[in-house]
Amino acid sequence: MTKRIFWAIFGVAMVMMLAVVGLVFGMMYAFFSAEQREDLRSQAFYVAAGIEDDQMNYLEQMQSPLNRITWVDENGVVLFDSKANPEKMDNHRERVEIAAAFENKEGFSQRYSNTLSEKTVYYALRLEDGTVVRVSDLTISPIALFFTMTQPLAFILAFAILFSVFLALQTAKKITKPINDIDLEQPELAVVYDELTPLLRRIAVQNKQIYWQMRELKCQKQEFDTITSNMQEGLLVLDAQGDVLSYNTGALQLMGIETPREKANVFQLNRSEGFRRSVDSALAGIHREETIQIDGKICKIFANPVMQEDTLAGAILLLFDVTEQEEREKLRREFTANVSHELKTPLTSISGFAEIMKNGMVQGEDVPRFAGKIYDEAQRLIQMIQNIIKLSKLDEKQRNMEREAVDLELLIQDTVKRLEPIAEKKGVTISVATQTAVFIGVKQVLQEMIYNLSDNAIRYNYENGKVNISLENKEKEIVITVSDTGMGIAPANQARVFERFYRANESRSKETEGTGLGLSIVKHGAMLHNGKINLVSELSKGTKITLTFPKQ
């Protein structure tokens, strides 16, 4: 703006200056020309008066006159000339000024030299006797005058230009300064030009609008951020090129990224195959689900295209950490497979024995033996199903399991009594060392736990082995320890024995008749009572399992 104003002012100044110089020059020249003519005229009158008095004598006596004087007779023949020999001059009758003088008493003309640099001005006057006297003056022409004036003119012009540049600049700055000084944050406060007031008012209104809109947007973004940052799931918002527009902390955690780059492309965050497939598909406008692995975590991706009026605007990626789910799913599958297998084994025996009997291949006296086997297997099946039911009850942590004060000492004594026949059969001696301890818990579950632990201690023992059961009532906790001098569990298996259907030694499972669920029930029972299990075992030396229950 300053520039434009500057050029406008400067341009006007230049045009004006040139016009003024031209006009003044013209006027001055015209004025001087008129003066000169007047001068010549009065001189001609003097000369004429002189000639009339003295004729040729006057002219000859005149010493080097300032202007050229020519005297011609009535026929145009030159009688006298102050600058040339009159005899060599041709007839002057036809000269414009002389012809005019013959006709109108006086004549005037001007002629330019060949180079146009000089101008001769002539004035002719007819005398009483019919002769004509002519006075001429040599002056420079306007063009020559202009050229001789060039240097001073150039100086003046240069000065004028500099001066007008300076002035124009100052003026332009002065005009724009108040506009530049307007505080656009508060345009209504600026008092500048009346012409700008509507504009400034408009800006003020829009400022206010923008302010509120920004505030609203910020609020919305904050809301969005708060919601998404509290999400466990990862959220990524992409534009149509796959650049990340927005993300939440969940996404960063899931993808194992500390600080993402500004406006990073999504493939810079992860480039695994499933991830690429889902992103590419979403950016092609098709919903896709993929399960991928990131740093050992299993992650489920839902990739959704975002459409805006039939054109793809971007994509939203939702990431779920399904590691735990997948693991549980795996356990569940294993459990189902195990259950079916374990249930099938006794059923196959039952079916086999029953088939032999059905075909009449069993003699009368053998029937009880076969029936006994069928009975045993059926019992085993029932026991296993009971155990499964118990476990599933423990799994669900049923609220209806009533807690009561249980005398653990009594419980252990009862259990030992029940197990004594089996122990005797195996030649295992049980020693009990108990203190009085009353614990608030589910009696049935506690009984089951102690029974299973003691049962295992006897079952996986050597002949003439020993089982020690102790109960300690400490200040803050109750400790039950069952130790044996049995086969022990290999270190590799120690972590797994609490899994359902897991058996340290598959080949032994037949002879020891276990269901593979005992320790699993112990584990869940301990969890139900907030207790802890500690297992110390050495192969061929024995196992010691400690249950610790905190007192409420």
Partner: protein, 222 residues
């Protein structure tokens, strides 16, 4: 407008390079899986990946040529594009060699000897190098690129070790000859893959600084 189109094309190049790098990782992963688990499906995957890598190379090459001709980039952009052109040929070689490994594994069934030599360790090291070189490109990470270049020594040492092991094996029983030659080829391929990963890391460095570490920084300082 022209500029922003150029930028988006450059970004496109970046994304395609990341995808190609990821394909290389997958190819060598599949090849090593095929090797150590005798997994025919993995071998199949490795050769499919190789085809995909070849296609990607053509695609990126075309993109680079278009960028060079139409936009006539200078300075940093030119470096980026020219290093991309060099990088894709290294990536393509990685893909080829992964497929070659997968092909050889089809004839190897002797698991016992395989686990005795350190080829698996070489595989792990090569995978690490490829992954990290691609990572250094993705994140324009000079430090990581440098560590890839240095890690090449580990792979080279492993190669020497494997070579010695195989010499000993042949010495023990000449019947092992063919098998050992197959193994040494796999080892050599892995060693080459490490070299290509090093090259990629060097190109990453070049595209960032304008110079190669091995040649000093004179060029970059210009």
């Amino acid at each position: 407008m022209v500029r922003s189109r150029f930028d988006s094309q450059l970004e496109q190049l970046d994304i395609e390079m990341i995808k190609m790098g990821a394909l290389c990782e997958e190819a060598i992963n599949a090849a090593m899986k095929a090797f150590s688990e005798n997994d025919d499906v993995a071998a199949q995957i490795a050769s499919e990946k190789e085809n995909e890598i070849d296609r990607k190379e053509r695609e990126i090459e075309g993109l680079c040529m278009r960028l060079l001709l139409q936009q006539q980039p200078v300075a940093r952009d030119l470096r980026l594009i020219s290093s991309a052109l060099k990088m894709i040929s290294d990536m393509e070689r990685i893909g080829d060699q992964a497929a070659d490994i997968a092909e050889i594994t089809a004839f190897l069934k002797d698991n016992d000897t395989k686990s005795k030599v350190h080829i698996r360790d070489m595989g792990i090291a090569a995978i690490k190098m490829v992954t990290e070189s691609v990572d250094s490109f993705v994140n324009k990470d000079m430090k990581l690129a440098k560590s890839v270049m240095e890690y090449d020594d580990v792979l080279d040492n492993l190669f020497v070790e494997v070579k010695q092991e195989l010499i000993d094996l042949i010495g023990k029983d000449k019947a092992n000859g063919e098998f050992c030659i197959d193994l040494i080829m796999i080892a050599k391929y892995l060693e080459r893959i490490g070299d290509h990963a090093t090259n990629i890391a060097e190109w990453v460095e070049y595209s960032i600084t304008g110079g190669h570490a091995k040649m000093g920084m004179e060029e970059g300082n210009k």
